[in-house]
Structures are given as structure tokens and as C-alpha cells.
Symmetry: C2
Subunit: 427 residues, 2 copies
């Protein structure tokens, strides 16, 4: 049986994990899948740098041509991250008729049609399971197990760092800044945590997920995004009291040709399966018209879980040789032509404010909500005998714009000292 030679672009965390798996499990994979996979070349920036995973020096190169122009290599696996030079290298690999396996969410989210067209033109495949939710096989499940379904809703915890932070804040009653610092020390958060805590990482992944689920390209630019930096221990505590857990959710919904996609802190009922997803775990909750509710839960990052997805894609690529299933987006050429991207979506809201502790304040604020057609589902009002008191509302479903206007008016009320936070609620 022929040896399938694979070239690696990058050898960081995920690359090393995939390498370790392919090396240790080579016999086993050969026995079970009848495929003999060998890592033939690895592109690195510095071939002299010491590696955490031992690798033969002759495998390393700092010249991309050793991989994309290597006739022995039929599959190229990319772990560099970022758009350039990954995009250029991948296009070059595809042009040279090599199937590409990638973990690069930003690249796929931003340049998917270009890459897939190049793959199609050259009769090779483009696999990206590892780009969303690490070890969780959500891409394959949506593409190859839910074909009988119209998927109309996705809600996902697809960033481990923020879920770790929110879990600690919730279970230990601690504040954001404190937990972030600890997470950084433990390696759960980057020194610059922006991409995680501001929801950028989740936004890329949601763009990919929503696009395959809805068969329509959902560009990154259309995704509303709000991070977790303004969340406080108080928000989480009052949410619990009302029966909710706080998660950074990536949400996409489709109704006919109207699509909404958003990443923001979200309260969900404590008996929702997503609320039990703790620490750095990821989970994606999907509603399909035939299959009903479904959830996939697992490790969304890490060398071995993401390496597991990479190796699975490499094996699939070998088995599907020449039969890659190209993605069809019905709005491919004009991303906005046939689709209405909603910004004025509807959801329930949790609003926490600090007000003067005196009679009539609640009625006044309720009046403002009423003016904008926002109906109130529950209220927590607590007087501590001081001058000020917290006041928390949960509304029935209301439009984004109505809520925005109501909050602007409420801020003008002289008895309202601060609107502390406005957090959306999903069920």
C-alpha cells in the first residue's frame, strides 16, 4: 500500500499534537483504516529552535517550496494561523494539486470561497474540521449527518477561555479582572486576551458554522459582537437568582432568507444543556427541523483534541480521494443579494441598574419600557435602607432597537444613577 506523504505548515501546539498522533498511531491507523500516513516535511520559521516534541532535523525546512513543490506530498496540513502568509501558501499548495487540511478559523472565515474555488479547479479537497471547536466534529456532523435537516438555529459556547473565566466568576463569585489574571497565569488566557474576551475568535468560528448550517455565506462583517469585559460578579449573581447561567454564546438563527448572527454574553436557563458546560469546554447546540435539538460537547482547543480533528481530516481526505464534497452557498457570488442580515433581532433582556431608593422609581422606568412596547417578565427590587438600590428587569422578547431607545430614555431619568448592564437572554 502506498504511503500518503503529508507536509506540515507550522509546528506549534496543534502541529505538534497532530505529529505525535500520526507517529504513535501509524500502525493502528494503517491496520484499521488501511492508510499509511507519513509526515514528510515540516515548515518552520527557525529550523534550529528546540522543539517540545522531538522531530528528526531532516524533516524541518524553512522553505515553503520544499512542501508545495514536493511531488511526493499529496496532503498539506496548515497550523500557522492568521491570514498571511497562510493564505498564499495554501493557494500555492492547492494549485499544485495538494489537498489541504487546516485549523485556521480566521482564514476560512475570511477567504473560504477563494480557497474552495482553487481546490475545486484543481480537483482536490479543503478540510477545516479543526478550525471550529477543536476536537468536536461539528463540521462533519453538520455536513454529513444532518443533510436531511433545515437547521434554523445554532447556539454555541465556542471559546474555551471565556467559558473558563465565566465559570470561575460564577462558581467562586469573583470579578472579571481577578479571574482573567489567574487564567493568564495558568495559560488558559493569552497575555493579550483581546481575541478571546472580545468575542473575535468566536465570531470567526460562528461565521464558518452558520455558513455551513444555513448553506449561505455569513460574512464576518455581518456578525454582531460584544465581549465579556463588562460582565461583573453582580450580573452573574442576580442572573442565578432568576434561574440563569451566563455564557458567551455565538448565536445564529435563520428564518426563510433572514439570517441573524451574533456573539455576546447571554443568560440561558439553568436547565438548558448549555448551562452545564463548565470550564474550558465547548459545546454547540443545534436545532434541526427533523432531528430536533442536538448538542455536541467537548474540548474546543489543545494540542491533542485539535490534533485529533486534523488527523481525522487527513484520513477522510485519503478515503474521499477525488470525491470531495464542495460546499455550495446559495449566495456565494453576492453574499447579501439573496439574504437579509438582521440587526434588529428579537430577544429577551436582563437589565441591571442602580436607582435612588425611593417610591415611584419602578413605575417610572416601567413606563418607559411600556412606551417602547417592551413588556416586563420579572423584576428584582431590593432596598437595603440606603440611598440607592439595585433594580433588575427581565423582559419578554423585544427588538434590539426598541431596547436601545428605551435604555437611552431610562438613562435620562434623574432617579436612575446608572444602567449597569444590559444582557440578552436566550432559551
Amino acid at each position: 500500500m502506498n504511503v500518503v506523504k503529508v507536509g506540515f505548515l507550522g509546528f506549534g501546539n496543534v502541529g505538534s499534537g497532530a505529529y505525535k498522533i500520526l507517529k504513535e498511531k501509524r500502525q493502528e491507523i494503517f491496520h484499521r483504516e488501511k492508510i499509511n500516513i507519513e509526515v514528510a516535511k515540516i515548515l518552520v520559521r527557525d529550523i534550529h529552535k528546540k522543539r517540545s516534541v522531538p522531530v528528526q532535523p531532516y524533516l524541518l525546512t524553512d522553505d515553503i517550496e520544499d512542501i508545495v513543490n514536493n511531488p511526493d506530498i499529496s496532503i498539506v496540513a496548515e497550523f500557522m494561523g492568521g491570514v498571511e502568509p497562510a493564505r498564499k501558501y495554501i493557494l500555492s499548495a492547492l494549485e499544485n494539486k495538494k489537498t489541504v487540511v487546516t485549523a485556521n478559523k480566521e482564514l476560512i472565515a475570511k477567504h473560504w470561497p477563494e480557497l474552495e474555488k482553487a481546490a475545486q479547479k484543481n480537483g482536490v479537497g479543503l478540510y477545516y474540521e479543526a478550525s471550529v471547536a477543536g476536537g468536536i466534529p461539528i463540521i462533519k456532523v453538520v455536513n454529513e449527518s444532518l443533510q436531511a435537516n433545515d437547521i434554523h438555529e445554532i447556539m454555541g459556547i465556542i471559546n474555551g477561555t471565556t467559558n473558563y473565566i465565566l465559570t470561575k466568576m460564577s462558581e467562586e463569585g469573583r470579578d472579571y479582572a481577578q479571574v482573567l489574571k489567574e487564567a493568564q497565569k495558568l495559560g488558559y488566557a493569552e497575555p493579550d486576551p483581546t481575541a478571546d474576551v472580545e468575542g473575535i475568535d468566536a465570531m470567526y468560528k460562528l461565521s464558518i458554522l452558520a455558513s455551513i448550517a444555513f448553506h449561505a455565506k455569513v460574512p464576518v462583517d455581518f456578525i454582531y459582537r460584544e465581549g465579556i469585559t463588562s460582565i461583573t460578579a453582580e450580573d452573574i449573581e442576580y442572573g442565578k437568582e432568576l434561574g440563569y447561567a451566563l455564557k458567551l454564546l455565538a448565536i445564529a438563527k435563520r428564518e426563510g432568507d433572514a439570517i441573524q448572527a451574533r456573539v455576546h454574553p447571554t443568560f440561558i436557563p439553568l436547565n438548558h444543556p448549555l448551562s452545564a458546560v463548565r470550564e474550558s469546554y465547548n459545546a454547540i447546540f443545534i436545532k434541526g427541523d427533523a432531528v430536533g435539538n442536538m448538542m455536541l460537547y467537548g474540548r474546543g482547543a489543545g494540542d491533542m483534541p485539535t490534533g485529533s480533528a486534523i488527523v481525522s481530516d487527513i484520513i477522510t481526505a485519503c478515503q474521499q480521494k477525488g470525491a470531495y464534497r464542495y460546499t455550495t452557498f446559495y449566495n456565494e457570488n453576492h453574499p447579501s443579494a439573496y439574504i437579509c442580515y438582521l440587526s434588529n433581532w428579537t430577544s429577551e433582556f436582563f437589565i441591571r441598574m442602580t436607582v435612588r431608593d425611593k417610591p415611584g422609581v419602578l413605575a417610572k422606568i416601567a413606563g418607559v419600557f411600556g412606551k417602547y412596547g417592551v413588556s416586563i417578565a420579572s423584576v428584582i427590587q431590593k432596598g437595603y435602607g440606603g440611598d440607592t438600590a439595585p433594580l433588575i428587569f427581565v423582559t419578554h422578547p423585544a427588538g434590539e432597537l426598541s431596547m436601545k431607545s428605551a435604555i437611552e430614555d431610562i438613562k435620562k431619568e434623574e432617579d436612575v444613577l446608572r444602567v449597569e448592564n444590559v444582557i440578552r437572554v436566550e432559551r
Copy 2:
């Protein structure tokens, strides 16, 4: 593009669901998957019976030959359930070079090697996603997304009826018999509930799941089985007090060549993702050496969810034409030759007993546990001032046989009135 003609064996709940999906989504599936699927014949017992899903009379037949000897039909989908005549019909379809898609867990659990050998001999496929956990694509995930993993543990809630009953018992504090009766009225439990409440249904599914996960045939006969009929509201209540939820779990573990497989009521910690699986939902928790912990959650039964799995298998069968991946069990010819099937496995135990409420009883019982090397993790002892009192132990991991011996001795203690229940605990 050619029309793929499918023959149905049976037209009950699942068959009707699959039929409805294939009819309503024919254009959509054609557009997205480039496959044009038509149901060409449906085998039923009585062609004159009124159907809940409308179907053209000419599609119905009561002669199996109209399907297995129909040269136009390339795929046969079976929904009859039970071993015979389903086995005979499927073998006949395979012999006639038709790929088979089935939802029949009992048949696959009992006759898989025979059926797969017939498929292999004739160069066709045998798909069975719908046989385990309805709409949850657990078979494909294990076979085609976790190839890089050694799976060493599976724990699943794979019977919706029992999970519904246990959820109601737990959330409403009601007793088994009462909830069962209600479940039967609502159609969640069969008039004869034996297969569900005694764990037989879960046992078939576990046999299939464990076999593909461990790459070793795990025969039904080797699976330990205990149903939920002796579970009381008290057990569940005391479990909660100790931080556990009660579930009927199907459990399989592998260590080297030693495999254990068992279906029994099980306490799991309240923060375990499986404990949040409520009502008739199913979920399968898997531990892989690369991917770590993973869980799939969804609808384990029902016409549309199971129909979704059937249709997905039909589409996959069309796409993999001639490239079906036959299962290899390394103990295929001698199921027990290379494998040690454990019956004396180790787990923690919850033991609830009623004892005389007088000094020294606890010490005496603890002494018996000590004699058999069973170490105690926690105790609940409650005196109500009467003659008798409940006494609950949770142990550290202990062997099955040690526990059995200890319980036999404890029953002989004159101050022990009854050992009410012994329930295993997993984490």
C-alpha cells in the same frame, strides 16, 4: 442525473418519518447533495391498512420479492425491528447487491458479522446509524471523526423511556409505578415496558456502540444488565443529598484487552454533563485518548429524528458507492479469544438500608465492609426517634464480588432490617 431508487421494509413510525423527509426534501437534497432519491416500493403486512402518512397505493407491496428482486432498487432501508424476518430479508437484499440501511438494533447487535460478511461478499454497504440513539450521529462520529483515538470509556443515556421516568421521579419526587403509568398514558412507554425498563433496549445499543468504539465485538451475552424497576423516590432523594443524579447508564470500559460492559441504574455527580440530560433525551459520553471527553446529546427516538439518521445514511451510501468502510473486529472469529470480558469490575457504590435505631449498628456494618476491603467515603445516618432509621453509605471504588459478599454478610446482621438498594456510582 440518475434516480436512486430505495425500497422500504416496513412503514411504521420510523419508516413514515424517513418517507416524509425524502418526499418533502427531495429537491433540496438534490440541489445540495446532487443525489435524486425516490422511494420506489414499500413492504407492508397489509396493503389496505389506512396510513397516517399518505402514500400512493402502487408503492405498497406485501411481497418481499418486489423489493429484493427489483433490479431498479439499489438501496433497501429496513424498519421492521426484531430478528426475523428482518434478517432473512436483509440477507436476501445484500445477496442481490443492494446496499442496506437499517434502524434495527437487535438485529445488528445479534447478527452483525453475518450481515457485514454478506455485504462485503457482494460489494455493497451496511449502514446502521439509526440503530443507536436515533438522531444522534454517534456511529459516524466514532467511525469517521475519532479515528485518531483509542476510546477507553463510553457512558450513555441511550433509552429515552427510562430517562423520562427517572427525570419525573427525580423532579417531582414521585414513585416508579406511578410515573410509569403516566408515561404509558402519554405514549412515552409501551404497554409492555419490559424492553425499556429492564435495560434490554439499552443493552443492544451498548453492544453496537462498544463494538465500534473498541474495535472488538462485544456480544450481548457479555453485557451485565439491571433495570430501573426497583428504584424508589427515596434512593433518588438521598442521592441528590449526596450530590448525585440517578440515570440508567450503558457503560463500557476498556483497559488493554479487558472489556467491561454493563447497563444499570447509576448515580453520577450533579456537575457531570450527563446529569443535565432530562426527559426523553439521549446522550453519549466518550473518553478518547486524544480528544479527551466528548458528549453527543439529542433525540434518541421518534419518527423524524430517527428518519433524519436513515436519510443521512441513504445519502452517505450514495456518496460512498463502492467505498464502504467495512468494520474490522480484531476478535471477529472468536469473540472471547483475545478479550477478557470482566464481570468483577470496580466502581463506587451507594447502599441504602433500614436498620434498628440503636448505638453500635453503624460500627458493626462498617466492620463488615472493612472485612471485605470496602472503604467508606460518606455516610448519611438519620435518626427520627423511632425504632428504625435509614442508613446510607457511599463507598470508595470496590470490586463487584467484594461488594456482593459484604452485602450478603450485612443482610445477616440482626440489626439490619432491610438492604433497600445497592446502586453503582460513576464519575
